[in-house]
Symmetry: C2
């Protein structure tokens, strides 16, 4: 069961640099892609920058609808994450093909992903760097987390299909947010 996550805590999910899924909905069709090139840009309201290549089928949907969902997969979802990254929504319903379940979001048309433990509903707020870099600035307008899976381990992509899974946690006294 998903619960709302305060928007001021969104950075705790993305700052560690996990592989995420990005969903869009365009002309009645949902699509999903794998994304590692993202960063936090502001705590609150949370801004996220991401690189979505023009070669991705999701690019046109993101630019036209100006909405997406960033869904965070647990490490156990690695096989589907790779399948999503290797296929194109041009030819395929990737949700159906790879056993992922779209769920209605609250504020955007793009779907949540039931197999993920957290979902961030986003609106595109700045496209000035899209022509040169395919770089979108997103504002997270609604965030969800499954409280039972809050400590889920995530994936980090090292290139060429090599992923590192979260290991040990360190708690150090920090003045950093």
């Amino acid at each position: 069961m998903l619960k709302p996550l305060p928007l001021s805590e969104v950075y705790c999910l993305l700052e560690p640099g996990p592989v995420v899924l990005l969903t869009t909905a365009h002309r009645g069709r949902a699509n999903v892609m794998t994304l590692s090139w993202h960063l936090m840009m502001e705590f609150s309201p949370p801004l996220v920058g991401c690189l979505v290549s023009g070669a991705n089928h999701s690019f046109a949907a993101l630019r036209k609808t100006r909405e997406c969902v960033i869904a965070i997969p647990p490490a156990a979802l690695a096989p589907q994450v790779v399948q999503v990254g290797n296929a194109s929504g041009r030819d395929l319903d990737k949700f159906e093909a790879f056993g992922l379940t779209p769920r209605p979001a609250k504020k955007v048309a793009a779907p949540l992903v039931a197999e993920c433990f957290a979902d961030l509903e986003c609106r595109v707020v700045d496209t000035r760097f899209v022509p040169k870099y395919n770089f979108f600035v997103l504002e997270v307008v609604q965030a969800w987390i499954d409280p039972r899976r809050r400590a889920a381990k995530t994936l980090h992509h090292r290139g060429h299909g090599t992923f590192v899974v979260d290991g040990e946690t360190l708690r150090l006294k920090s003045g950093m947010p």
Copy 2:
């Protein structure tokens, strides 16, 4: 002993989202800060986007000199990484205070960090998003790695001084670069 790393492999170091150190040199003084808000923007030549807040002492040095080094600390350096993140170069020589060793870089004035296992010499190539977001686009012009420490585990920041260390590695058949 550092060896040059091909620039086309830089993304393998940053795409997983590690906490990094960013060094600058300005008016004869070197400084170092902790950074987690970064992303890859292009494979080759490698472009990196990063958020350096105007509240950081490094901000003025980065904007004026248009050069920096991104150094990647191994997990064992966590205590110093946190100390660097909690202090300001306005008041302190953080290299000396926290036992970090600056080494001359090849193409930029900002120093490498001897305790890190990889260093990326960078030039600022786009500042158009600095006024609004403090977002700099960097090009990596020279990369170094210590081959004996190539498999070093890195840190990922989850907020509030909580870090996750790299764990298990998964190798999956991927068409992704």
